[in-house]
């Protein structure tokens, strides 16, 4: 069992060149994923979760660019790869699942065609073998009558079924890492649990790691081993799921957890964090969260905090600076 991390992201910076100047969308993001681990990435809309996933797999939409930082996949540095080299990685070593399953499938081709095409791109199988494998994949993801439905078109499936097909497609070439970007957001609540359960199971069966991007804390709690909390293009807390959820170290995470209503407590109003996440061109100096933070002090306004140890997790907050804690 190797102790090397499968994925290592160090100080990733992604910038967009716009008319108004250079906008920094990801400002020094660092995280790791061990083989077979499920890392959740949670945060509000616009915090940079999807961008992080896109940057890792090399699908940043221009004018976005990685301007500094490193991404290592099983020890290999991939952030500077050419398009050809990236194509060799995508699908085979890193798989991706996007939010809208209907939009992810080409409406003009049967799902069988799309599966077989993916399989044969990466594996040296004949058409017959690929088809067999495709049927097995569909069965594994819980599509009934797979041998028959393999010839059907995307519009002939329901939302939940479609996402299962998408999962099958993403795993067709047996990647080591799967980046799932809001895989259940577009689905009915009743289906969400099924699909997430399927994703977790099928990845664990293959020993594939998952980067699960979502804004739903409940899903994170149920599924992930570790979680990273993002805010304004930065990671503000990262650690084991139980630790972060039950003993959040960063005031933002505290606020997030507090705003989730509890079935048992009676509430007059929903708790919320005052203010809003700053726009990319208006990020305050020092700690990005300090204007909204109930515990901010002088240092927060001046210096941007690094990820500091807080128990078994790490938080980017001066409250956990050794001098402060002591």
């Amino acid at each position: 069992m190797t102790h090397m991390n499968l994925l290592e992201v160090n100080n990733l910076v992604v910038e967009f060149a716009t008319r108004r100047g250079l906008l920094r969308a990801l400002d020094g993001v660092s995280l790791t994923i061990a083989p077979g681990e499920i890392l959740g990435v949670v945060g509000e809309s616009g915090a940079g979760k999807s961008l992080t996933g896109a940057a890792i797999i090399g699908l940043l939409d221009p004018p976005g660019r990685i301007t500094s930082g490193e991404i290592h996949l099983a020890g290999e540095r991939i952030d500077q790869y050419s398009e050809d080299q990236l194509r060799g990685i995508r699908g085979r070593r890193i798989g991706a699942i996007f939010q809208d399953p209907l939009a992810s499938l080409d409406p003009l081709y049967s799902i069988g065609h799309q599966l077989i095409e993916t399989i044969r791109t990466h594996l040296p199988l004949t058409a017959g073998q690929a088809r067999q494998r495709a049927i097995e994949l569909l069965e594994e993801t819980g599509i009934p009558a797979a041998a028959e439905r393999i010839n059907h078109y995307p519009h002939q499936f329901s939302g939940g079924m479609r996402q299962r097909v998408v999962i099958a497609l993403a795993l067709a070439a047996e990647p080591q890492l799967v980046i799932a970007d809001e895989p259940t957001t577009a689905l009915d609540v009743s289906i969400q649990a099924q699909v997430i359960g399927l994703l977790k199971r099928i990845c664990q069966d293959r020993g594939a790691a998952v980067m699960l991007i979502t804004h739903d804390m409940g899903v994170i709690a149920e599924t992930c081993d570790r979680v990273a909390v993002m805010y304004a293009g930065r990671i503000v807390e990262i650690g084991p799921v139980q630790q972060v959820i039950h003993s959040p170290a960063h005031p933002y995470t505290v606020g997030l957890m507090a705003s989730i209503p509890d079935l048992e407590t009676d509430l007059e109003r929903l708790a919320q964090i005052d203010g809003a996440m700053p726009r990319l061109d208006a990020i305050p100096p020092g700690c990005a969260f300090h204007p909204r933070c109930p515990r901010a002090f002088e240092r927060c306004r001046l210096e941007r905090p690094e990820l500091l140890d807080a128990n078994t997790s790490r938080a980017a907050c001066w409250l956990h600076a050794p001098e402060h804690v002591a």
């Binding site: 995508r90 003009l108 081709y109 049967s110 791109t121 002939q156 070439a173």
Partner: protein, 326 residues
């Protein structure tokens, strides 16, 4: 599917009848329909007889019925200008126009689609910018001017190609073709090119715009995330999705070639229906105008129907006969 077909046929008939109605109004009220039917050399006796036979005091609807009956048989009376039966004139001229339009359509498609695809895939390159500028020129140049410039270059200055007429034609039964002789081909080159250029430009710009849109969709993104080859993505998925909507618009536009042929035929003195029509307009030759109107709308409606049918064949989402499963 049969219901769909029936629906479209009904719509088509509706359009045909409305156009016939317009033609009827022209025939009946702009000038004397009896003269139209008998010709200007008719004797007063014949005129009297026909007038009572037609019963011009009969109800509007009956007269329209009469006109429709005639129209379906191709009977539109006698040309004011030429004194011969309109149906004979049109039969003589139809092959010339159809040949010209077909060659031009093939030219426009064969050149326009690849150019559009190239412009979309190589967006931003210098060669593409040049292509787009030339295409703008194609849209800004009226057809007749293109014809004149081509004549100036290839006929007057270089003397390579002839500038008027059809050359040697072969009579195959009712159809006269110029495509079976070298002279015939030489004669069709310039007019067909002139006719094709405008359509070519439109097709190219349309294909480019549509393909750029398609390249931004989620399913293309997912295809890239699966590591599919560029060829599979661009020509398998993107191109097919581009061509489906393009097909509809292009089909309708190609019908317009028949009308644009009017201009081309005038410039090159091509003995087709268009030249006949323009002469009729200058002369206020109503019978010919009415006949042309009905014939052209018939051609349009037929092309529309064919395009609709093709659409059903190509897009699996609208095949209503397939049972939808959950």
């Amino acid at each position: 599917m049969p219901i769909f077909l029936l629906n479209r046929l009904l719509q088509a008939s509706g359009v045909l009848v409305s156009v016939a109605f317009l033609a009827f109004l022209l025939f009946q009220y702009v000038g004397d329909p009896v003269i139209f039917l008998l010709g200007q050399d008719a004797t007063p006796q014949q005129i009297r007889e026909l007038r009572s036979a037609l019963g011009l005091d009969q109800s509007f609807l009956v007269q329209f019925q009469h006109f429709l009956g005639n129209a379906i048989q191709g009977e539109f009376g006698i040309s004011l200008r030429q004194g011969t039966k309109v149906s004979k004139l049109i039969a003589e001229r139809l092959p010339a126009t159809l040949e010209l339009a077909t060659i031009a359509a093939l030219l426009a498609l064969a050149a326009g689609i690849p150019m559009g695809v190239y412009a979309a895939l190589r967006a931003g390159r210098f060669s593409t910018q040049v292509l787009m500028t030339i295409s703008l020129l194609g849209v800004s140049l009226p057809t007749f001017l293109i014809g004149i410039l081509l004549i100036l270059l290839f006929s007057v200055n270089l003397g390579w190609l002839p500038s008027f007429g059809r050359g040697d034609t072969l009579q195959l039964g009712w159809w006269s073709t110029g495509l079976l002789s070298v002279a015939g081909w030489k004669h069709i080159v310039l007019p067909a090119t002139t006719l094709a250029i405008f359509q070519l430009t439109l097709i190219m710009r349309l294909v480019r715009a549509e393909m750029l849109e398609v390249l931004r969709t989620d399913y293309i993104r997912f295809a890239r995330a699966r590591g599919l080859s560029n060829r599979a993505i661009h020509f398998g998925h993107a191109l097919r999705n581009t061509l489906v909507p393009v097909m509809t618009i292009t089909g309708l536009q190609l019908g317009g070639l028949i009308a644009f042929a009017i201009i081309t035929e005038t410039v090159f003195q091509w003995p087709g229906m268009g030249l006949l029509f323009i002469q009729a307009v200058s002369f206020a030759d109503i019978p010919v105008m009415a006949a042309y109107l009905c014939l052209v709308s018939l051609i349009f409606v037929t092309i529309n129907l064919i395009v609709d049918l093709l659409y059903v064949l190509v897009d699996p989402r609208i095949r209503i006969d397939r049972p939808r499963k959950a």
